[in-house]
C-alpha cells in the first residue's frame, strides 16, 4: 500500500509522531496506523481495541494489542510509559471522557485526539433544512446505530481543553482527503489535536 492511499487522518497522525516513539493507540481498529508507525517509523507500538475481529487482524499484522474497552483498558500501564497516546475517532465513543483523558495523560507525554466535527457544514444543513439527525461521510451512522455517545464540535473541544488546562500544541483539520485551513468549525469534517498537560 502506498502512503498517499492511506486514510487522510492516518497520514496526519503519521506526520505528527516522531520516529522510534512509544505509541499507544486506544481504539486501534484493524491496526493499520500502528502497523505503518511500527514498520516505517520504528515506533514501539501497542493497541487497545474492543472488537474481536479487529484483534485478529492486528495480531495478523504482528501487533501487540489488548482486547478491552478504552474505559477499562489503561489500568496497569505505568505512568509516562508512552510518548504518544492516540485517541483517533474513539474519544467520542467512550463513556467517561474526563477519566479516559486523565488516564491518557497519566501514561503518555502527549495525547493525539481525532474526532468528527458535529458542527461541520453538511451536518448543520441536514439538521437545519431537513430537520433530521445528520448522516454524513464522517458521521456515517443513524441515530439508532451510532457508537458515538458524545457529540462535539471543534469549538467545543477547544473550550474543553481551555477549561481543563490542557495545552493544545497542534490542530489539524480535514474534510475528506483535503486539509482545511479556514473556519474549521464550519468546513472541517474531522479534527486532530495534539495535546499535553504538563501543568498538572
Amino acid at each position: 500500500m502506498r502512503f498517499d492511499e492511506l486514510r487522510s487522518d492516518y497520514r496526519v497522525i503519521y506526520g505528527i509522531v516522531n520516529s522510534a516513539s512509544r505509541v499507544l493507540d486506544l481504539g486501534c481498529g484493524d491496526g493499520e496506523l500502528l502497523f505503518i508507525l511500527a514498520k516505517d517509523k520504528n515506533a514501539k507500538v501497542q493497541g487497545v481495541e474492543i472488537d474481536e475481529g479487529s484483534i485478529y487482524k492486528c495480531v495478523a499484522k504482528g501487533l501487540s494489542v489488548f482486547h478491552s474497552d478504552i474505559d477499562n483498558g489503561l489500568r496497569g500501564y505505568p505512568d509516562r510509559s508512552f510518548d504518544y497516546v492516540i485517541l483517533n475517532q474513539s474519544l467520542q465513543q467512550t463513556k467517561k471522557v474526563d477519566f479516559v483523558l486523565d488516564e491518557a495523560f497519566r501514561v503518555g507525554e502527549r495525547v493525539i485526539v481525532g474526532f468528527p466535527n458535529f458542527a461541520h457544514l453538511p451536518v448543520r444543513l441536514g439538521l437545519f433544512f431537513r430537520g433530521e439527525a445528520p448522516v454524513t461521510k464522517s458521521l456515517p451512522y443513524h441515530w439508532y446505530d451510532s457508537p458515538n455517545i458524545h457529540c462535539l464540535s471543534i469549538k467545543d473541544f477547544r473550550n474543553y481543553c481551555r477549561d481543563k488546562n490542557i495545552d493544545v500544541l497542534e490542530e489539524h483539520y480535514l474534510a475528506g482527503e483535503k486539509v482545511v485551513r479556514f473556519w474549521p468549525n464550519l468546513f472541517a469534517a474531522n479534527a486532530i489535536f495534539v495535546l499535553s498537560r504538563n501543568g498538572k
Partner: protein
C-alpha cells in the same frame, strides 16, 4: 480420598478407588462446560419419557456425567489425578511469579481467554496482562467469544491457530515477514 478403596494411595494390585475418582471427574466435568453449553446439550431432557420417582438418573445430564466418570476411571489413575490436582493448586502466577525481576526484556506474551470459561475466568487473564504491562512487558490479550466454557480451548481451534501462528511469526521474524498483510 473419601473412597475407602483409595487406602492412603496404596491400592495397586487391589480394588481401585473407582467410585471416588468417577465422582471427582463428574464434578470436574461440570466446570469444563458453560451454562449455555449445558443448556444446549441437555437442558431438562429426560432419558425416558417419564420421571421414575426413584434415585436412578432420570435426566440426560446425569447419564452423561456418569458415563464421563465411568470412562475416565478406565484410562486414568487416581493417585495421578490427585498429584496433578495438587500441582495445579500450588501453581500461582500472581505477583512476581510470572515475570521474575530481571527477565522483562525481550519476552513477548500472548494471553488468550474464553468468554464463557468460568474455571479460568477472563478477568483473571486480564489481571495477568495488566501485571505484565505494569512491568513494561510486551503482552497481547484476546478474549475469544465462545460459549463452550473451559472446553473452548479444545474447540475454538481456528481462532487459537490464527493468534498463535501470527504471534510466533512476529516473534521470530519481526514485522517484515507479515506476508499475509493486506489492507
Amino acid at each position: 480420598m473419601a473412597d475407602t478403596a483409595w487406602n492412603g494411595g496404596d491400592y495397586y494390585g487391589k480394588a481401585k478407588p473407582e467410585r471416588g475418582l468417577a465422582v471427582a471427574r463428574m464434578i470436574g466435568h461440570i466446570t469444563y462446560m458453560s451454562d449455555s453449553s449445558m443448556e444446549d446439550k441437555f437442558s431438562r431432557r429426560l432419558k425416558d419419557d417419564n420421571f421414575s420417582f426413584t434415585f436412578k438418573g432420570d435426566f440426560e445430564v446425569e447419564g452423561y456425567l456418569r458415563y464421563r466418570g465411568d470412562s475416565f476411571v478406565k484410562r486414568f489413575d487416581a493417585n495421578s489425578y490427585l498429584y496433578i490436582t495438587k500441582a495445579m493448586d500450588y501453581f500461582d502466577l500472581s505477583g512476581d511469579n510470572i515475570l521474575p525481576p530481571g527477565s522483562e526484556s525481550g519476552v513477548r506474551f500472548l494471553v488468550i481467554a474464553f468468554k464463557s470459561d468460568w474455571l479460568y475466568p477472563s478477568y483473571q487473564s486480564q489481571e495477568i496482562v495488566r501485571y505484565l504491562k505494569s512491568k513494561g512487558a510486551d503482552a497481547t490479550y484476546c478474549e475469544v467469544s465462545s460459549t463452550y466454557g473451559h472446553d473452548a480451548f479444545l474447540l475454538e481451534v481456528e481462532e487459537e491457530t490464527h493468534l498463535i501462528k501470527h504471534f510466533l511469526n512476529k516473534t521470530f521474524y519481526g514485522y517484515d515477514v507479515v506476508r499475509s498483510y493486506e489492507i
